[in-house]
Subunit: 216 residues, 2 copies
């Protein structure tokens, strides 16, 4: 595990002992960062089982980057007041995605990656992932999910494994299914599991591994 930095963008890389045969990009969820436990567990699993490198970037306002305190405070205020936070989070996600997509592409350039590249990111990671996967031809497959409709989904054409939490308290089931339906990919497969937003079962790490192996 090594720290990664490019201009003011921070992140983390993991590399295998031998030359990586592929790379997986991991985009963390809202409020997390590139060394959150779930990111580290996935990264270490993918490196060990796939012999790939892993790159995780801190999203704008997250991890080693200046926090967006105004946004954080506004979410707290709305929660305390019992006001809906969905529209605010969707707007924030879109703003962060617009900033993050060129950051990810610059990081791929900086690492001079020429292997197959897979993407893994749910929730905020999917808000960033949809426009990134749609616009970056080096990415050949993606695990997405835990999000409702976002612009550009029809432009995603690579194979997708899509995660849905069946009792998601943040993303209504119908919204998640609508994003799955909107993806332009010919091969897309939906994995739904009981539980709340952050309760994706551990066995989905193995499923993502098999998905990447199929497409690398």
């Amino acid at each position: 595990m090594q720290k990664f930095a490019l201009n003011d963008v921070t992140g983390t890389t993991w590399t295998p002992a031998d030359d990586p045969t592929a790379w997986v990009l991991i985009a963390h969820g809202g409020g997390q960062h590139s060394q959150a436990p779930g990111v580290v567990a996935r990264a270490e699993h993918f490196v060990r089982t796939l012999g790939c490198g892993v790159l995780a970037l801190d999203a704008p306002g997250h991890g080693g980057r200046p926090a967006d305190e105004a946004a954080t405070n506004e979410i707290r205020r709305r929660k305390a007041a019992g006001e809906p936070i969905g529209p605010l989070i969707a707007a924030m996600n879109a703003e962060r995605a617009a900033q993050a997509v060129p950051e990810w592409r610059a990081a791929l350039d900086a690492l001079a990656i020429t292997t197959p590249v897979g993407f893994w990111g749910v929730s905020l990671g999917t808000a960033i992932g949809v426009p990134l996967v749609a616009s970056e031809p080096r990415i050949t497959c993606a695990v997405l999910g835990l999000l409702g409709p976002v612009d550009g989904a029809a432009d995603v054409r690579v194979p997708v494994e899509f995660l849905v939490q069946w009792d998601d308290e943040l993303v209504p089931r119908a919204d998640a299914l609508a994003l799955f339906d909107a993806l332009g990919s010919t091969e897309k497969t939906l994995h739904a599991n009981p539980g709340r937003h952050v309760e994706v079962p551990r066995f989905e790490i193995g499923s993502a591994e098999h998905f990447f192996r199929r497409h690398f």
Copy 2:
């Protein structure tokens, strides 16, 4: 691949070179039989990758067993007349399941199976599988799907991987999701793929393999 017979019930078994470490039961779909290509492909894959034995039985009215010509003719007549066949098939499925469940249990007895046992069956295979898995404690995990609500789903308590075809022309999407919801299992995971009833993608064989490996 060996022929299996017990009283008037016919079927097929597959066994590995060494003693099987587990058994998988494969219940075929309507109109198929225990040596249909999809059954053989799955059986050979499971034996090779899991070191298990596989037992497939011909359902009542299928394969080596006397055909139910009255039922077949009535389905043909309704299709030709543009009449709905769903209710008739549901009734026939229920009748066949009631007959098949004791046949499967007798076959388990006859083979004196003491290893972990998994079940794989969709469509008619799930109509039989739901009451079988609910009543047979030797079965510890099951791949089900491609069917709407059936009695006894709440009594299924073992881990389930559940297949849905997103554009199923025989089973409305909402009906398939309703059966998934009705299953009593704590661990259940839904895999949905684009395509019609018989177009389950080949990669789901590998997914079922990983599911069985997790639970054996």
